[in-house]
């Protein structure tokens, strides 16, 4: 298992480097944002770009980029959006807002999603199952920003239950802040609930029809006992890794939802960096999202082994 984990980390690192390299080269190949004639910032920017190796071959530039990160955790300075500021500092400032919204979201969506999935599986082929399954399909088919606008229109505008946008400030655990982020939490939640519901229902349905469940019942276990002790445990082999993946994704933020609810998070920052041609911020965002995606995949895969002792991928026989 250890070897497998190390292998996966190595592969993850390898893939990360390839993606980073490709992104880096493509970004450096783009023409630099033009400065106005006689822009007095020119000299400063030239010095900074010289320090980043802009006039050197791409491979050497990439080496300077990596060296800066490894030795000084230097991701460069912002050239457009936050002129002269360390882009890592800017990025870190944005992380909490993204994380808090996603954290609250998964905190309730996972239990609700799993619960609905269990109910649907246990009530398979009844109106309850049909209702849940139909709603699940509808919710999964509609993008989250559609819910976002609906939620904002109904809860914030029509019924005035919540503020339109996230409250300003950094008091992330205050009641006012919580109330202000309920709409984005809901907007983010529907898709996750539907996803967990569908996964749980599918797995549990399959497990419930397994022969060992019949054996459990013939041994004298009640249906509840058999479901809780055997069926759920087996179906969680698939569900729990997905939970881990969701938790990793907390810090990823949501590009569209953050814009609609004015959440000053990393998702918004990424879009602004793209629109504003702030290459250093965009490069950091790209690396960040790549790392998040790879880490989530790694955690999901490794967690299988911990959850189900029968799974020992890559181990010697």
């Amino acid at each position: 298992m250890l070897k497998y984990t190390l292998q996966r980390i190595f592969y993850m690192f390898f893939v990360f480097m390839i993606i980073t390299f490709m992104s880096f080269i493509l970004i450096r190949m783009l023409p630099l944002p033009a400065l106005a004639p006689n822009d007095p910032h020119k000299e400063i920017l030239e010095i900074r770009r010289e320090a980043l190796g802009y006039n050197k071959p791409y491979l050497e530039q990439f080496w300077i980029f990596l060296r800066g990160i490894v030795t000084k955790w230097d991701w460069g300075t912002s050239e457009k959006l936050y002129i002269g500021r360390d882009v890592w500092q800017v990025f870190v400032e944005k992380l909490p807002a993204s994380m808090i919204v996603n954290f609250y979201s998964i905190l309730w969506t996972i239990p609700v999603g799993i619960a609905l999935g269990i109910v649907a599986a246990l009530k398979k082929n009844t109106w309850v199952d049909y209702t849940i399954s139909t709603l699940t399909m509808v919710v999964i088919s509609v993008p989250s920003f559609v819910y976002a606008f609906l939620i904002q229109y109904l809860l914030c505008f029509k019924w005035r239950l919540f503020p339109f946008v996230m409250k300003a400030g950094t008091d992330y655990f205050s009641w006012d802040m919580f109330v202000s982020i309920v709409p984005p939490i809901l907007a983010l939640s529907f898709g996750v609930i539907a996803g967990f519901c569908r996964t749980t229902r599918a797995e549990l349905t399959e497990v419930l029809t397994s022969e060992f469940m019949l054996l459990a019942r013939t041994k004298g276990l009640t249906k509840t006992q058999a479901t809780v002790r055997h069926a759920l445990r087996n179906c969680f082999v698939v569900v729990v890794p997905a939970i881990f993946g969701e938790f990793i994704g907390i810090i990823g933020g949501s590009l569209i939802i953050e814009r609609i609810f004015s959440i000053p998070g990393v998702g918004n920052l990424t879009i602004n960096a793209i629109n504003g041609l702030d290459y250093n911020i965009f490069m950091l965002s790209t690396c960040f999202y790549t790392a998040i995606g790879l880490a989530a995949g790694l955690v999901v895969d490794i967690s299988y082994g911990f959850i189900d002792p029968r799974i020992r991928m890559g181990s010697k026989k």
Partner: protein
């Protein structure tokens, strides 16, 4: 030229900014008894006592605003964009400011009605500037041209009660400290060029800024030319070229200038490898383009010059014409003579250098790469205010909140910071707003919902909202100074190349016909501009001239060019309006629609014959119809619903216009793939790879003369590839004397350059050399000539539509290009915050939203 445009754009922005700051205070804070309800206090205006109606001191009036982004830096030395200047505007003030003309601040022109213009009044200054040129010339002869006795040096008396909200007392020396810091080379402050460069920079500021460094100086910058330089003993080998500006390249070590003797070949990234001029050198550019034997010598003054070395270790006091005469008198020495509006503008601009030296110095840090950066004005802690508001909350990309700065002198000023309300006749203080809250909202839908729920003060209407709200009494139209024209390409080479390309079937398609003069004229009269505005962009109004309705030709009097008789006559002449049929010129102008379907049909028929004769199209079956289909490609910058709507409208209109002509169902308007919102769409048009687009120039809201150069300078003009203003001659009768010059030369002359006319005499019709009447005659003459090219076909006068919350109201509904409707300074409130909340609750309970 592009730099000039930028500067002029800045001037407009600055005027708007300063107008926001106009004069002073919202409520009296001299008392401290906390009484509420209307009250009156006494102020003095000269000897006459004025009763001032005070706002309720206990009430809170919050202006809730929104924008799509907040700037991370509003440092007056380094700000760049509109968001930065907006955020900065609440925290700063200036020596002089703009105020609406009212009984308390009347204009010299007594025919003007209150609130239809503006006056310039002292703000942080204690009085008007005093010309001290003679005095300064004696002490510092190097700062003032020899023999000059006025117009260069001014002493500005300052108020003694100026403070930052930190308590830092502002004196003349504080300004000097600010000037030293903005000119500190190591910071490379973005706004330093405003101070040291240009005609009206501060004397000696450039030498101080560049001390110990080199800097490229073009002949234009030095007020010189290549011929003058050589005549004065200059050597050609000492000349440098601005290769960055002229050709878009730079040397291997990142320099944007190079010696004309430098034959190092530099790769031009804009040219494909292997094509002509994929590699060029400075020497090549000089020999072929800019040098005496080059083909673009008109560019030489702007892009050729010398490399100037500046002596190191110069003392500020001996070098820069900016010093404290005494504790409350500041002396400014300008590089060029200025007076009137220009003087006030310069004084306003220079006063923006003010910073709190203590905080400023603490904010300076050296970066790992050796460069310097400043965090001044990037947070609440680093944002000292000397304006009407203090920054009390700021979160990057989220919110900025401003509250009254009680240390601001303006709230106690009973002279300048008051106005007489045109409705009730009472005298009020400016700035009733106690708090300003700016939210960042990226979604217009969110903003609309928030506005309708009473949480925002304004909402700019989107296309889908216009039908619902355009007739609302709370909907305000703000006309812009600019006209957007439909620009029809005339680049024959480009069009020929397209027809010659693979895939273009000339038996079925044609595009060269758009070169035919009759076709271009027919195109110009094919569109009902009013219908276009109504159906595609209701915030705009039809535009008929090169200049818009609110462009000001004389900033001293706030006079609009379009209101003048010569401007009206120019339009009537171009649109062939028989003025004798109308009782006055206004009626004649009002009759112009620019739409003449009958004439269009005749012209299309004539164009058919012209095109046949030119061999562009065929009529094989002799049915009198064109065999080819002409699809005029709109140069699309980016895909959007509004663009699609516009292009569809144009297509439908031209199909209708060609009905019954040989081009019936043969002319369409299509669109290119998105080309990009930079200069790409214009480049495509210039190159003839696209055919038409709606385009215009912004900026120059108070200088239409300068805007002319956007049409006459090759590096700016959209039509540079097919309209040659240097060859287009124009004869004007000025003071009974006929003068003939090219359109290019007229534009040069009216912008203050010496130009030679056909009579061999040299003329200059710049601000200091000709009266306004003469200059306007020239402006109208050139405008008429440009219209006659049928390249720039005026279409819409830009504008905006916005809803204003019922919580507030404008003191005047009339829009003024400089003052807008008064901005925050003049904004008044129907409800304080508590009353507004109650009102909103009631409205929403009853109607579901606030009714507009």
């Amino acid at each position: 030229m592009s730099n000039m445009k930028k500067i002029l754009s800045f001037i407009l922005a600055l005027m708007m900014l300063v107008s926001m700051l106009a004069a002073c205070a919202p409520k009296d804070d001299t008392g401290d008894d906390g009484t509420s309800g209307p009250a009156e206090s006494s102020g003095e205006q000269g000897k006459e006592e004025i009763k001032i109606t005070e706002f309720d001191k206990d009430k809170k009036y919050t202006y809730n605003s929104w924008q799509t982004g907040l700037s991370a830096n509003w440092n007056p030395h380094d700000y760049e964009d509109a968001n930065s200047s907006d955020q900065m505007s609440y925290l700063i003030d200036s020596f002089y400011t703009f105020a609406f003309n009212d009984e308390l601040h009347p204009m010299e022109d007594t025919s003007r009605t209150p609130f239809d213009g503006y006056v310039i009044i002292p703000s942080m200054a204690a009085g008007m500037p005093v010309d001290v040129t003679e005095e300064v010339a004696k002490e510092h002869p190097d700062w003032v041209p020899e023999g000059a006795t006025s117009g260069y040096a001014y002493a500005i008396p300052m108020r003694e009660d100026l403070y930052f909200d930190t308590g830092y007392h502002i004196t003349a020396n504080t300004y000097v400290e600010g000037m030293k810091r903005i000119l500190d080379y190591k910071f490379q402050n973005y706004r330093s060029t405003d101070v040291y460069s240009g005609t009206y920079g501060i004397a000696g500021a450039e030498d101080y800024f560049f001390q110990g460094h080199e800097n490229f100086k073009s002949f234009s910058d030095m007020g010189s030319s290549y011929d003058d330089y050589i005549a004065n003993g200059g050597k050609e080998e000492d000349i440098y070229i601005d290769i960055g500006g002229f050709w878009g390249i730079e040397t291997a070590d990142g320099k944007t200038y190079a010696s004309v003797t430098d034959d190092t070949m530099i790769r031009d990234p804009a040219v494909p490898e292997g094509a002509d001029e994929d590699y060029v050198s400075a020497k090549y550019l000089w020999d072929n383009y800019l040098g005496p034997n080059g083909v673009l010598t008109s560019y030489t003054p702007g892009y050729a010059g010398i490399l100037k070395s500046y002596p190191a270790n110069v003392a500020f006091e001996d070098t820069v014409g900016f010093y404290a005469k005494d504790e409350y008198t500041l002396v400014e020495v300008f590089k060029a003579s200025c007076s009137g509006f220009t003087l006030f503008y310069n004084a306003i601009q220079d006063s923006l250098i003010l910073v709190d030296p203590d905080i400023y110095d603490k904010c300076a840090t050296q970066q790992a790469d050796g460069t310097w950066a400043s965090t001044y004005m990037t947070s609440v802690e680093t944002s000292p205010s000397y304006g009407p508001y203090s920054l009390t909350d700021y979160q990057t990309d989220k919110v900025a909140h401003y509250s009254r700065n009680d240390k601001w002198y303006g709230y106690k000023d009973d002279v300048n910071n008051i106005y007489k309300d045109p409705t009730d006749g009472n005298v009020y203080r400016l700035y009733q707003t106690t708090d300003i809250d700016i939210q960042v909202l990226d979604s217009a839908a969110t903003a609309k919902n928030m506005f309708l729920a009473g949480e925002l003060a304004t909402y700019g209407l989107q296309a889908d909202d216009v039908d619902e709200y355009r007739n609302s009494e709370y909907c305000f139209n703000s006309p812009g100074p600019n006209v957007f024209f439909t620009l029809l390409t005339g680049n024959k080479d480009g069009l020929d190349a397209r027809e010659a390309a693979d895939g273009f079937d000339t038996s079925k398609e044609d595009i060269q016909t758009i070169l035919c003069p009759s076709f271009r004229k027919a195109f110009a009269v094919s569109f009902d501009r009013q219908a276009f505005c109504d159906e595609t962009s209701p915030q705009n109004i039809p535009g008929y001239g090169i200049f818009g309705t609110t462009i000001i030709y004389d900033p001293d009097t706030a006079a609009y060019y379009r209101d003048t008789d010569v401007a009206k006559k120019a339009l009537c002449d171009f649109y062939s309006v028989d003025t004798s049929k109308y009782s006055n010129l206004d009626d004649a102008v009002d009759s112009i629609t620019g739409f003449d379907p009958e004439a269009a049909k005749e012209l299309y028929t004539a164009a058919f014959q012209e095109s046949l004769d030119a061999g562009y199209i065929t009529d094989e079956d002799n049915d009198g119809k064109c065999d080819q289909t002409i699809t005029i490609m709109y140069a699309l910058s980016a895909e959007s619903d509004s663009m699609t709507r516009r292009i569809d409208w144009l297509d439908k209109a031209i199909v209708e216009a060609t009905k019954g002509t040989p081009f019936e169902n043969k002319v369409h308007v299509g669109k290119t793939a998105p080309l990009g919102s930079g200069s790409e769409f214009a480049d495509a048009l210039k190159a003839g790879s696209a055919d038409v687009c709606l385009a215009g120039w912004d900026g120059s809201a108070m200088d239409p003369y300068n805007l002319l150069t956007a049409y006459t300078h090759e590096d700016q003009a959209y039509a540079a590839e097919w309209y040659y203003p240097k060859q287009d001659m124009l004869t004007l009768t000025l003071d009974g004397k006929e003068i003939t010059m090219s359109v290019y030369d007229w534009a040069e002359a009216v912008t203050g350059n010496n130009t030679k006319a056909q009579d061999g005499k040299t003329y200059n019709f710049g601000t200091n050399d000709a009266d306004q009447e003469t200059r306007m005659q020239i402006l109208a003459g050139v405008e008429g000539k440009l219209l006659e090219t049928y390249t720039y076909i005026p279409f819409i006068n830009n504008g905006s539509l916005a809803l204003l919350s019922q919580k507030v109201y404008y003191v005047t509904d009339e829009y003024n290009a400089v003052m807008a409707r008064g901005g925050i300074a003049y904004l008044k409130y129907n409800y304080d915050d508590d009353a507004w909340k109650t009102f909103c609750d009631e409205q929403i309970a009853e109607h579901g939203m606030i009714q507009y």
